[in-house]
Symmetry: C2
Subunit: 328 residues, 2 copies
């Protein structure tokens, strides 16, 4: 029985991951129990059931990380994070949430490693982001392109990757960082991520609500669905990290498309009336942020390791309709 | 009158930098006073003189960084560091010396920035290292090659670069990270850096002492003299950081050569008898570490910005003979 911890388990990706694990199981077929940890309580009606239990706590308090580490989970997903827009607005909160708790938690895991004479080496999978990159970019970002974040969020993710790489190299943990594409279509409400509109212009119209498009429709970006994100995280659990050959951060597959292609895919799926709910209204702050973002990748290592994502934006829309629209 | 602080001012590079500044002045010709801060006291006989004063303190104590920040130096050189070999042997000491004091010091500088209503934005020049890279490498490492450190020292340097980039992007400081080549020929005693032998095989024979060569003479590496290191640091002070276009870490020029080429340059300079003092004796630990190191670079950005270094190893030997041999 494998014991799995999901930090940030009540967030959108955490919930998708938990459901995916319960649906398809671990790659090695082993049975497991899930602990979903978050700073916010589970949403109303969500209670412990089957092999799933919830736990509320604040990882910014070092004692909370130490208490979790002391339970010696076999597999830890580290998804908890302040999102990009919030980390940019609140410098202190960003660093205090996105970097230091990772350090304290890794140190707590290392203490357990020592306490077991080196026997305890947890698998740790961290959700990093394409925000670790900064322009100017080549047409396609290759696997050996430098990290040069242009947001605090990106800097915090890149710094966590360095910690995870070094703690892993030393054998204290067995870690891996997955640089997720922008997750699209996000279900639920808009969030403070500057990328929120990429989902909003699809999700709001599909729910009969107007959506603001704050950038030009020529903007190109890199997407994967929530279903792909959950699949990435499950797939990563089945990899032997030897295959990473010391480079423990991976650019993941996604779909590169323009906003215009997003809109045409929406028209193709549900027609003109829905598309008419998208209202262009330039926001120079968002234009400036998005202008610094990656547009396309050649994620060869991840593809060779069996990671895969959608190949058309229509597929991404269909995933939203199938998985989330009835719940919206 | 510009006020300059050198953290790690009693180290080899700090001392070379201080002398270079006193000799050639700042690029803009402004007058200055120098504060050399270090955890170790200045060596016997070194006392405050002219515009130079010494100060002893431990930056790992946050209050020390805060006290220094409160003096609002105009230009800060951050050279203080535990070296690579020691950071690898003592994981705690490495991270507690090479990363956390940087965070606390940057936070203290930011507090001064706030206290002055944003007027105080110190220039900060950090000595990073080619240890931020990890293999496999291309024939020449280009300016957009990823950071993937394979030592704790490299991870700590790369993490500091991220902090400096983000504090600079936010306008709290005006920072820059210089990824120094291996400094060769280092004067004085061998240190705990795994790269120490690159200097040792030249320095020890020139001083009539045997030197162990722990790797094959086919090993290729990336060097610059202490004189070049000091010149890099002075030159950087004269650059407007706008020219960095948001990528505030720079690969610096150096000389790529093999150990065999080092030895032939030594023979060329001083003859066979001196070369005979080099004793090959493989050390598998050092072989393994050095095998993961960069061998050659194409540092185009730094060269376009006017940084320059030696172009032959014979030049590097001549610099040692001219600057340091009489003092050894």
């Amino acid at each position: 029985m494998k014991r799995i911890l999901i930090l940030g388990g009540c967030g959108m990706v955490g919930q998708k991951l938990a459901r995916q694990l319960e649906k398809v199981g671990l790659p090695d077929g082993e049975s497991f129990e899930l602990t979903l940890h978050d700073i916010v309580p589970p949403r109303e009606g969500a209670t412990d059931h089957g092999q799933r239990r919830y736990r509320v706590g604040n990882l910014a308090i070092a004692a909370e990380g130490a208490a979790l580490a002391a339970e010696r989970f076999d597999l830890i997903y580290a998804l908890a994070s302040v999102v990009s827009g919030e980390a940019e607005q609140d410098f202190d909160k960003g660093w205090q949430t996105n970097l230091w708790p990772m350090w304290h938690f890794l140190e707590a895991l290392r203490a357990q490693h020592r306490a077991t004479g080196g026997a305890y080496v947890p698998r740790a999978i961290f959700t990093s982001s394409i925000a670790v990159f900064g322009g100017p970019y080549p047409d396609k970002i290759t696997d050996d392109f430098l990290q040069s974040p242009q947001t605090s969020y990106g800097a915090q993710k890149a710094a966590c990757e360095l910690l995870i790489q070094d703690f892993s190299r030393k054998g204290f943990i067995d870690g891996m960082s997955l640089r997720l594409p922008t997750i699209c279509v996000r279900p639920g409400k808009p969030n403070l991520a500057a990328s929120s509109f990429f989902s909003g212009i699809i999700r709001e119209p599909l729910n009969g609500v107007e959506a603001i498009l704050p950038v030009a429709d020529t903007v190109r970006h890199w997407h994967a669905s929530p279903r792909s994100a959950a699949a990435f995280l499950v797939h990563a659990a089945g990899l032997n990290s030897e295959v990473l050959q010391g480079r423990r951060a991976l650019n993941l597959p996604g779909l590169s498309c323009t906003v215009s292609e997003q809109i045409e895919a929406l028209r193709d799926a549900v027609g003109n009336d829905v598309v008419a709910l998208i209202k262009p209204q330039l926001d120079s702050d968002i234009v400036k942020i998005v202008d610094g973002w990656p547009r396309d990748f050649a994620p060869e290592r991840a593809m060779a390791l069996g990671f895969g994502a959608e190949t058309s934006f229509r597929d991404i829309i269909d995933v939203y309709i199938a998985d989330d629209l009835p719940l919206a």
